[in-house]
Amino acid sequence: MPEKLTSRNLLNQLQTRHYTNAYAAKIKGQLVGWATSIFPQEFCETMDLTVVYPENHAAAVAAKRGALPLLEQAESEGYSMDLCSYARINLAYMKSQAAEIPIPLPDFILCCNNICNTLIKWYENIAAELNIPMILIDVPYNHGYEPTPAAIDYIKSEFGECIRQLEKITGRPFNHEGFRKVMILSNENSRAWKRVLDLNQAVPAPLNGFELFNYMSQMVCARGRQETGELLKLLIEELEEKIKLGKSCYEDGEKCRVMWDGIACWPHIKHNFKAFAKNGINIVCSSYPEAWVLLYEPGNLDELAKVYSMIGNNTCMEYQADKREREVKNFKLDGILFHVNRSCKVMDFMQYEQQRLVAARTGVSIMNFDGDQADPRNFAAAQFETRLEALKEIVAHHKSAKKSKEVTNNDPA
């Protein structure tokens, strides 16, 4: 009897296929693009273009412990050690193509700075070094709560320019009816992804955060595709079944529910997972995977512009604090572990104030640790473990203080 296909197996198949298909396309002489992880993929999906995602690739390289030689190569070419490690890995890979998981070199690149402005500098260097066209969709930083009407108009104009450039690069016209279909499918997948994330509001949570990071890669690479919908459907069924049975993702139960704030520490992900499991702490949500919930009315370009502009990193202090406050409440969080990620300045430089704001509003326990998304040198296992234990102790202390307060309040004497 054939083994039942699990969502994890299907994810592995789809991710392998994503990379092998990209290589096959290149060999066949088809155009291949590189894109930033939250580029409006609706445009390239409509054009049926093969696109790979360097951030996803760099994370995979780092998780397989292949980052260090590439980081050192980039540094030898003059890139500072202080620069984003994803960028250093990718810029070195572009020259040497030395990685366990190969990706084809691009014929064009697609950049949207809704995560950070570092991406623009990184992609400029790719465009200049390979002498290939770069399409930029700039979403101005939202210093107010949401984009101004003028910013929306500007972004929409960039959409038009993006279409014009894609038509020029491919020599094919843009299919507006197909565009609509891609938007519908992308929204269905985003809704399903949101459902996956929300199912983790259950106590105990059915999925641990490290698995969330893995499934997320499918939303990065193919959120406008049919097969992503199939994967998410299967995952939702599995999670609903676990919830029905009251199953935790840890065998001995879930002692503490936290949010992982920031990107994963890919080179040390196994260590991090074990440290969490040892302490019975579960990551039930994260600011990171939620970024790929992109919901808008299909066909409404104002909404498309707005949703891509309002990625967490591109929003103001108040918006970010409101979002975290909602997550603390919805996911019944005991704590938040903040990753002070040496690579990701835009995530780090408002983090201290975010910690104060969210703690004051919700009373949630806060802890942070120093790490890096892909440079294994910027992480100390001992510090991480100590911080995690401290978080567990603070949460336990808060819980017991809360309990004794409740007892005192109910004491008829």
């Binding site: 890139y79 992609y123 930029l136 101005p140 939202n142 003028a150 201290y352 104030e353």
Partner: protein, 378 residues
């Protein structure tokens, strides 16, 4: 000669002691608006009758700003926030903060909380700046800033006042361009440090007054024949060449600054604001016309060719990359122009600069070695 010395001293003093200039402004009850790096529409502030004051950090230790920034934020934002938190900028009626890079985006948001007594006036430039829609969008940003300044000043800003401010600023730009050209011929009198201070003093003075002083300086310089320079000639590139001590080191080792590609210096004045019927549109279009800065979208990296040309035209013996530590915008450009300059056989020195914990002796060794290296070369 006395006149020349007086002018040099006045400009040098203004750069070294901005508080004196600013106190004068406070006495005159003229409102001041801080302009954070790197590109602010100072003309709108000026048209409002206020004094735009450049905020480019300063050499100081961090005692408060670490509540907002980890140690790996660039020292420009760290020290500016530190000074703000210490109340140094309390005399300002507001501060305009552009969101050019990730550090500045966060700096503005942190300022709002950490320095609530000095009003935060945000600005987000369009990066796809060659599109016509970018001009429209930036005009809307400037229009918002104009309204904020009208509210602060309690009076409307007319188009005529804006056009006049643009003219005054363009005149100032032209004067500084002329100064940097003339300064090349008087490398003994115009030391690297003085050259920097002549330009920097403009951040704390009324542009009309500054233009007048610099023009006076140019006239006085021209009275003497060009000076023979026995040392070597360098071009500086980067955000800024501070702390000031490093410029004294250039002088110590016989290096003259013959041109610069610094955001704090020539990048501010090498392009003029286009004149037209709509002054706000002109200011917005200016952003589309500028070239060759790490903060300006440049997918062909034309900056590398501009830098090469600059070094050749100024007959420089080398280029010095003044890299503000943790400045990603400059750090990404460096490997690209390094390659171009190497191919052109133009010597290049990488200087990592920091306003918080400057390793000045290390910098000294590097400058000394570079000076020796280029002396042997040609």
């Amino acid at each position: 000669m006395t006149q020349l010395k007086e002018l040099m001293s006045a400009l040098d003093n203004a750069a070294k002691h901005p508080a004196q200039v600013i106190n004068k402004c406070l006495e005159e009850k003229r409102l001041m608006i801080g302009c954070a790096p790197e590109y602010c529409p100072e003309e709108i502030v000026y048209a409002a009758g206020m004094l735009p004051v450049g905020l480019w950090g300063g050499l100081t230790s961090i005692k408060n700003a670490n509540q907002y920034f980890p140690a790996f934020a660039c020292s420009l934002v760290q020290t500016t926030l530190e000074l703000g938190m210490r109340g140094v900028y309390d005399g300002l009626a507001g501060v305009i903060v552009p969101a050019h890079c990730d550090h500045l985006k966060c700096f503005g948001q942190d300022w709002k909380v950490a320095v609530p007594q000095v009003r935060f006036i945000p600005l987000a430039h369009p990066i796809n700046r060659k599109l016509e829609a970018a001009v429209e969008y930036l005009k809307s940003e400037y229009s918002r800033i104009k309204s904020v300044l009208e509210e602060i000043g309690g009076q409307p800003i007319s188009d005529q006042a804006l056009s006049e401010a643009i003219e005054i600023y363009n005149d100032h730009r032209k004067t500084l361009r002329e100064f940097t050209l003339i300064a090349r011929d008087y490398c003994t009198t115009i030391t690297p440090s003085l050259r920097h201070n002549v330009i920097k003093s403009g951040y704390f003075m009324d542009k009309l007054e500054h233009t007048q002083l610099v023009n006076g300086l140019i006239e006085e310089l021209k009275k003497a024949p060009p000076e023979a320079w026995q040392g070597k000639r360098v071009v500086l590139t980067g955000i800024m060449a501070e702390p000031n001590e490093i410029l004294d080191m250039f002088e110590d080792y016989g290096l003259a600054v013959v041109d610069d590609d610094l955001a704090q210096e020539s990048r501010q004045f090498r392009t003029d604001v286009p004149q037209g019927t709509d002054p706000l549109e002109g200011l917005a279009r200016y952003w589309s016309c500028m070239e060759g800065c790490s903060l300006l979208y440049d997918p062909q990296k034309n900056r590398r060719f501009m830098l090469k040309r600059m070094a050749e035209e100024s007959r420089a013996d080398g280029v010095v990359a003044c890299i503000m530590k943790f400045c990603e915008m400059e750090e990404f450009d460096y490997p690209i122009y390094k390659k171009t300059l190497e191919e052109a056989k133009i010597p290049l020195l990488y200087l990592e600069l920091d306003l918080v914990t400057p390793s000045l002796e290390q910098v000294r060794t590097r400058i000394q070695s570079f000076a020796e290296m280029i002396s042997r070369k040609r």
